[in-house]
Point group: C2
Chain length 411, copies 2
Amino acid sequence: MKTWIHIPKQSDFSIYNIPFGIFSSKKRKPRVGIAIGNQVLDVFAAYKLGIFKKIKIKKRVLKNNFLNDFIALGKEKTTKIREIIQQELCNENSILKENNAVFLPQNEVQMHLPIVIGDYTDFYSSMEHATNVGMMFRDPENALLPNWKHLPVGYHGRTSSIIISGKPIHRPKGQVLPPNEKHPIFKASNRVDFELEMGFIIGKSTTIGNHITTHKAEEYIFGKVLFNDWSARDIQKWEYVPLGPFLGKSFASSISPWVVTLEALEPFKVKGPIQEPEVLPYLTYEGFKNYDINLEVSIQPKNKDATVVSHSNFKYMYWNMVQQLAHHTINGCNIKVGDLMASGTISGKSTTSYGSMLELSWGGKKPLKLADGEERTFIEDYDTITMKGYCIKNDIRVGFGEVSAQILPTL
Amino acid sequence: MKTWIHIPKQSDFSIYNIPFGIFSSKKRKPRVGIAIGNQVLDVFAAYKLGIFKKIKIKKRVLKNNFLNDFIALGKEKTTKIREIIQQELCNENSILKENNAVFLPQNEVQMHLPIVIGDYTDFYSSMEHATNVGMMFRDPENALLPNWKHLPVGYHGRTSSIIISGKPIHRPKGQVLPPNEKHPIFKASNRVDFELEMGFIIGKSTTIGNHITTHKAEEYIFGKVLFNDWSARDIQKWEYVPLGPFLGKSFASSISPWVVTLEALEPFKVKGPIQEPEVLPYLTYEGFKNYDINLEVSIQPKNKDATVVSHSNFKYMYWNMVQQLAHHTINGCNIKVGDLMASGTISGKSTTSYGSMLELSWGGKKPLKLADGEERTFIEDYDTITMKGYCIKNDIRVGFGEVSAQILPTL
């Protein structure tokens, strides 16, 4: 595809991407936009120019604080809208080309949480991550629990504290059990950690009692985001038995502003790992359902350079999204447009591909050296953590931008 | 208080109660109502008669599918509204008395899910329940885990599958590990269970980073409901390590339609249990924060009589609501109007006060005899489970009505 708009070669937001988000500017209230190169295309303004006239869309769907109503139009319509935008950006005679006001520089807009998230589920689908955590928290000889290879383990997370990239987070306080003590103390966490994850956003609702097959699951996925599932390891360790993580996670999670559609990611599908033992029939699937998405995490201390501390890839996932969705609904649990399902920490085999400081510093025992000579076991005050993700194949690049947040001192 | 409306002596919905809900009828779209005796007062119709003219309320707050906007008016206003209704129902010259159309018989209206629930948290705050489960699932000698007496253990639950009382539920399917096997099988659960719980609904939002003290917590609680946290014990047992319950719970939870305000429950406060070891300062509280609420559960097989199988009481809770809220927010996690926080199963000391079949039948080993000669270990197809709850003191009764649902065969 050849576009008339200038797109830098290394841009995540190529003509092949067209991700959706919610932005506002000094003069524009929140509305749907797409990212293209270094620009944002104001989709509501483009709508007013008549480029979507073949599709029935109500104004309030595009002039909206969230993408939910847009997503609820259904894939048939949203795919068509994305294609029209692509065509217009390639059409030298497009009305968009004559109307500069439909474009704004990305550094002049404010991005917002793109979705009203109904329920948020966090899976635990990287075998390397689950093994590493099992070795450290439980038994190194039996790091993976007996159920892990039979089902995509998951749990419900807190929705209210999911925030948009860029918002800083105060170090949480809570109960921590000091080593060799029987009684907990109350303190600020000193094991604040990131978790490198990706999330997918539900694009189609089901009703209670019904389930989704792996064959149909992609119809229910609108798109994907980068996700940092912040964790306070000391709080988590004391509280998590027997009902799972709670306050060690619920102080905040950060998501990236641009939702990359499943259609944009289609060319980057790859074969998943062999699953042994064989999974139950409702978890079997056909075709390629993993995605080759390069991921990286950097730590930037205040007023210093950033150091990339992890290079990972979404293709490492043992359980893929269609299996996660088939499992989640097999008991009749309904899903809704705007629900978020996250992957769990994405770690690879090599020690430089681990997706959390817990793993990278092996429980705090092996400090990481940063570019400026500082060392880190966990995250310190004023550190900024930035995660990036992109696919590349035959010179075509489709990326996610970034999810970034700074840790501030406890309140 | 003396009212001109007829209220049967045993009614949960006395003049001292005035609980809020959302109802519709053949001729009326969903709107706010209150229960009084066997009637529903149409609060929107009463508003149109001008009884709330001293309070600024927008029409759409009362003509609404949910109570969220009503609750978001704030306690000052909603308390005032409740008091005005009480006064009008006692005032012999009230305009309501001349307008029969503002009342409808409860058996002629349809009740709806009262709240758009943002996040749902389930606590685990009955010591007797946690001990019983620990004895059966883990180690009888160390049934309570080390953290249990230091913090109100809780986890996030699924919001989308919370349904209104009366809606039947299909038996869920899922992975189950047969005894002495290493590989799970896929089947319909044969250990479907109820959990007798109460929930409270958040009445005031906080922002991320802030926390609520036990001293202020009641300001953030709008009211309470009965809650049946349906569980599939066989699915739960296999899946729940290490991240907690997931599909064993998320197929459905049932809530009662009438939200009883904290103000209506004020006279029924009682002293809570002594907490040993002493809790950390942020969990200490002053005054009485437990509530004497009688609870019961009955099982009714198809075309047979119901048998009450459990008599419990909300006063047994080890951790109270103000402690739960202080703990939930101590890490800076924000809460929103319409969030639901449930107690966890409410069991007492005696074997007839246990709040689940898991405990009542001691893991299926001791079948319960029902009135008609049938026996139950867990819930069978076409059984209807009904939970009731009420307070009584000096002849004043304030009750919750019921939460009821039938289990249907698997789909």
